[in-house]
Structure formats: structure tokens, C-alpha cells
Amino acid sequence: MFQIWTEKYRPKTLSEIINQKHVVERLKAFVKEKNIPHMLFAGPAGCGKTVSAFAIAHELYGEDWKQNLLNLNASDERGIDVIRGKVKDFARTRSMGNFPFRLIFLDESDALTPEAQQALRRTMEAFSNISRFILAANYSSRIIEPIQSRCAVFRFSSLKDSDVKEYVERIVKGEKLRIDESAIDAIIKLSEGDLRRVGNILQASAVLNKKIDEDTIYEVSAQAEPKEVRKMVEHALNGKFLDARESLKELLLKKGVSGEDIVRQISSLIYDLNVSEKAKAELMEKVGEFEYRLQTGNDQIQLESLLAQFALFKKA
């Protein structure tokens, strides 16, 4: 049966999790005692936060894990209504089966609005006799202080090269892949420790070539680059404002990328742009200003205005 490898090779138990030994050991102890505190998992993408939460649910509840775990992704459902509705309703209902508590997992919880986080605070406290929360976030600093203080904070470290290699080899063995050593090195370099990316790069490469070599990896990875934002900025710098605007509309309206994400991507590529150092500094300031205006404005108008600023630095 066809399966996406990131799912197929997703660790099901705590022992299968790659590295994160210091975290995993403590989690195992909690599971053994069948008592866990509220927890906050912080760390970079694809290093095992979500996997750990699911593994805990599996090990605590066995067959019944689905009824006893509420899995919400705050990036998809980030509003206060979800916290007041779904989350609260689940938290105040007793567990199915003979378990002391139910588990609520809020993935990407740094995407929760501050209001939603405030609303969460009371729920965490009020039903702590029958419910436990696990929050995952890239940065713990985006979680408000009162919630952090109610949680045991676990820092997931970024994966080392040897960890990524271990995961690659797991898949290579499972799928009986033929792969060059140099290709494995390339994956390690390109994945930045994100195992989700590793799995996808590997599977895409395997689709393209029976024997995976270094070139295939680079080719696949180049296709995955978020090129559109760069292209849009380049258009503006080349004086093709209308093209830049089309790219922007495509991103916002067709692809559904949020204005906030676009402005962040713009800010991350400024230093690579082919303009003077002084221009970079000025542009950075503009990006900051328009990111601020975005909060109370229309994505398209504000980003378009920002692009008009970029067009002032038209390359000679």
C-alpha cells in the first residue's frame, strides 16, 4: 500500500524516538508512574515533539488512545473559540476506560493568539484533576508566562548529523533503497535536522531515480525552495512592479499563504539580495514597519506597499 514515508517511519513508541535522550528518559518515567504534569515541548521543527506526544498517548492508553487524546493543531485552529469550545469540552469530561486523566495535545501552540492563551490558562487549572495538557512550540517565548509556569518545560535539542543519518538508514533499510554515501551527506546538510524534510526529500528522490545520488538530492531540494517570495522581491527590484504584484496575489489568493508568513520570508532573504549594504538596512526597517501595519491592515495592500518600497532600490 502506498504511504508517505514521514508517516510510515514515524516512531510509535518513546524508545523509537531518535536522540532527545534526556527528554525521553524522563517521559518514560512519567508514563511508568501513569502520572504526567502539564508539559511544554519546545524545539525546532521535525525533531520529535509531536511524535513524543503521540507516543505518550499510545503508551498510556494502548488501544483506547484515540478516545483519550484530543489532538489540535493551533496553526489551523488558533482562535479563542476553539479553546473555549472543543478544548474545554474535552478537558472537563472524564476519561473513557479506567484512566486517571485525558490528554490534550496542542501542536504549534505558539500560533495561538494571546487571547486564546489567556483563555487556556483557566481551563488548564480548573480540570487538572482529570486532564493533562501537552503544548508544543518552536519557541517557548511565544507562550505567555502564566502558561509556561503551569508546565514542565522540555527543550528538544536540534538533531545532530549522526541522528539524521540514523533516520535515513532506517528508511533506506526499510525501503531497500540504493543510495550513495554522498547523497546521505547531502540530505544531512540540506535538512537542517528536520526529519520531516528528510523523509520527504528521500521519498521524492526515490520517485525520480532508482539509485539515489547526490545530484538527485540537490535537484529535489531545489524544487522545494520557497522560490515564489524571492521571485516576487526580485521583480520589484527589477522595476517590474506589476509582475511583483501578480506574484503577491498568487501567493495570497491562490496559495493561501498568510501575509505574516510572506513578510517573514521577505525579511529572511534581505541579506542575500543584490543591493548595497545601506539599502539592506533601510529595507529591513521598512519590512519591520509593514509587518507592524499588517497587524491592523489588509495583507495585500500592506505587502504591495512594501513591494513599492523595494522598487525604489531598483538595480541599476
Binding site: 514515524r10 493543531n73 521524492a204 529535489v220 520557497p226 512592479f241 491562490k254 491592523t296 491592515g297 506597499s305
Partner: protein
């Protein structure tokens, strides 16, 4: 209404579109049960009109269903099944399903029912749509021949508008007629409607959007621009988007484009206070901002063919809508957010090949 007064009464009077007429009649002559026809293309180009006229001239009785009818599976069955049965001996029947790409939420199962009827109908069925490649029509396309209708050339629209203006003794200059024709983008229906609205008597005249834009972009003082905004037939939000669309067309220097957008960006922040907090007091400031664009000094004043906002996007046919893509992403059962899936979409596209239904 003007549009009804000048509607072609016979196929001979139809402007352009000879090709479509010939093909459609040919299709009808060769028609055998089991196959329907989709005529598709931009609005206002004559699709419904032509089918109606063909029915009239071939002396067929026309049974029509459009988006104003309830089109759920059961009501389609109820209405169309009888119509699809053998007609009277003397008059053949033609079934027309107009606006076939706008089956709504409440019309669930409607398309499937239509397919059933197509397979058994004793009478030919023609469907009309703007976009035959709309996702909703995917299952239907296998049972249909497709003919595309072309846009009407601008010069033919212009000539038609001229004729009408003359017959109606309108006080309207050639230049405006040309603008209307250009702006219609091949939609003759909208052009004739526009013609009507341009011909209001000067006293209670509403300023048309082109004049409003002229006063905002080419004016010299705030008050004239403000008055133009107030007397426009478009509301403030529409004007706002017209301005957005046309800033880069009006100004050729990047400095002026940036300045104008700087103003619009501020107007936008007032706009969201109005929208979010229903704080209508800010309408005044939003207006003032937009009007202040007239104070930008543009040395390079030229004639600009202003374009309506937002058209570019809706015309470029998105093969997969955002909602469908999200459904697809969710169906993959990956344990991460849509945002993360979107980031990985290029890789998933390679992995899934033809199964990929995202963007």
C-alpha cells in the same frame, strides 16, 4: 432596459460568434442520445442568447433550468426527467441547463443526477458554464462535447455601442464609448449596461469610476477629489480597490508608486478600524487619505486605460481551489498543520505524482 431593447432577435443579428452558432447547430443535427454539450466561456458573450435563438429558429421547444432553480438531486429528477422524455410529435425539445458551474452547497447530488439524465434523455441537452474545467464539472465532462465561445472583439463592441448611442440620441462622446468598449473585455452585455449609465443627464449624474479616478490621480486639489469620491456610483471600498489596481498603471516612476501606496497603506489602516470596530467615524479619514493622492505631482501625465480591480485573478483559472487543496492535504493524514504541509507541498507533488491535488 437598453439591454433588452437591443437584444438580437435572430441568429443573423448576433455579433461575431458565427463559428459557435455553426458548430452548435451541427452538433444538434448529429446528436445521438447519451451525449450532452457544454458551451463555455466568459460572461456576456452570448451563450444563453444563442441557444435560445437556435431553439427558436429550429422550432424546438426549450426547457430551461438555471441557478435560480433549486437544483438538488431530487428536484432535478422531478423536473428534468419528464422533460427528457420524448417530446410532442411536432416539436422537438431542447433542454438547457444554464449556469452549470454554479451548483451550490444545497444542490448536492445535482450533477450526478444530470449525468443519469444525459444517459437516458430522448432530447438533446446543452449546458452552459463560464468554466468547463471547473472541478465540480469533472465527472460530467466525460459525457459531454465541449465548445468554447470566444470573447467579442472590442472593435465590434465599439461599433455596436455607436449604433445604439446614435439610435437613442445619447449625448456621449466617442472617447467615452471607446473606453467603455475597451473596459468591457469582450463582455458586450456589461458594455451596453455601462453605456446606459454613462448617459444620465448631467444634473443628477453620478460620477462614473473613470472620472473619479481621473480626479484622484490627475486632479490638483483635495476638494475636487473628495467631491468626486462622494458623488461616485461606487462605494468607498470599491473606489479603494480601483485605486489599488491602477496606481502602478498611472505612475511610471517608482517613487510616485511608492508614495501613492504609502498613502493607500495608511488609508487601509483606517479602513480596518472601520471594518473591525464598526468605527464609521474613520470613513472621513480614509476618504481624506485617498483624496490626498491627488496632491502627488506627476510630471508624466498620460492617458491611462483604468482597469477594474481583481479581474486578473478570477480570470486566470485556478485548477484547484484553495478549499479543495486543503481537503486534499487533510486527507493525507499527516500529523502536522496545513501550514507545514504547504511548506512541503513541492516535495509531496513529486512523491504523489498524479495523485497530487494540492498546489
Amino acid at each position: 432596459m437598453l439591454i433588452d431593447d437591443y437584444k438580437p432577435r435572430s441568429l443573423k443579428e448576433v455579433i461575431s460568434q458565427k463559428d459557435l452558432i455553426v458548430k452548435t447547430i451541427d452538433w444538434l443535427n448529429k446528436w445521438k442520445p447519451g451525449k450532452a454539450l457544454i458551451i463555455y466561456g466568459s460572461s456576456g458573450t452570448g451563450k444563453s442568447l444563442i441557444v435560445n435563438l437556435i431553439a427558436k429558429e429550429k422550432e424546438m421547444s426549450l426547457f430551461e433550468m438555471n441557478a435560480s432553480d433549486n437544483r438538488s438531486a431530487s428536484s432535478i429528477k422531478e423536473k428534468l426527467v419528464p422533460a427528457s422524455k420524448e417530446g410532442s410529435l411536432f416539436k422537438k425539445r431542447l433542454i438547457l441547463i444554464d449556469e452549470a458551474d454554479s451548483f451550490g452547497e444545497s444542490d448536492r447530488g445535482g450533477i450526478a443526477e444530470i449525468i443519469k439524465i444525459i444517459r437516458e434523455s430522448a432530447n438533446p441537452i446543452i449546458l452552459i458554464a463560464n468554466d468547463a474545467y471547473d472541478q465540480k464539472l469533472r465527472s460530467l465532462r466525460g459525457y459531454c462535447d465541449l465548445i468554447r465561445i470566444r470573447k467579442i472583439p472590442v472593435n465590434l463592441i465599439e461599433r455596436r455601442l455607436d449604433e445604439i448611442a446614435l439610435k437613442e440620441k445619447m449625448k456621449i462622446d466617442r472617447e467615452t464609448i471607446r473606453k467603455i468598449a475597451l473596459n468591457s473585455e469582450g463582455d458586450i452585455r456589461s458594455a451596453i449596461n455601462d453605456l446606459k449609465s454613462f448617459n444620465e443627464t448631467p444634473r443628477d449624474k453620478e460620477e462614473n469610476i473613470f472620472e473619479v479616478l481621473n480626479k484622484i490621480f490627475k486632479g490638483r486639489d483635495l476638494r475636487t477629489a473628495l467631491r468626486a469620491i462622494d458623488s461616485s456610483d461606487k462605494d468607498l471600498d470599491e473606489i479603494f480597490w480601483w485605486v489599488e489596481q491602477n496606481i502602478p498603471l498611472e505612475y511610471s516612476s517608482p517613487e510616485l508608486v511608492a508614495e501613492a501606496f504609502e498613502i493607500l497603506s495608511k488609508a487601509d489602516n483606517f479602513r480596518s478600524r472601520i471594518i473591525r470596530n464598526q468605527n464609521y467615524r474613520f470613513i472621513k479619514y480614509m476618504k481624506d487619505e485617498i483624496a490626498s493622492i491627488s496632491l502627488l505631482e506627476n510630471p508624466d501625465r498620460k492617458f491611462v486605460m483604468y482597469r477594474p480591480p481583481g479581474r486578473l485573478i478570477t480570470l486566470g483559472s485556478t485548477k484547484v481551489s484553495r478549499k479543495e487543496a486543503e481537503e486534499f492535504y487533510k486527507s493525507l493524514g499527516l500529523n502536522c498543520s496545513l501550514k507545514k504541509i504547504r511548506e512541503q507541498a513541492p516535495l509531496l507533488k513529486i512523491i504523489l505524482g498524479r495523485r497530487f491535488r494540492g498546489y
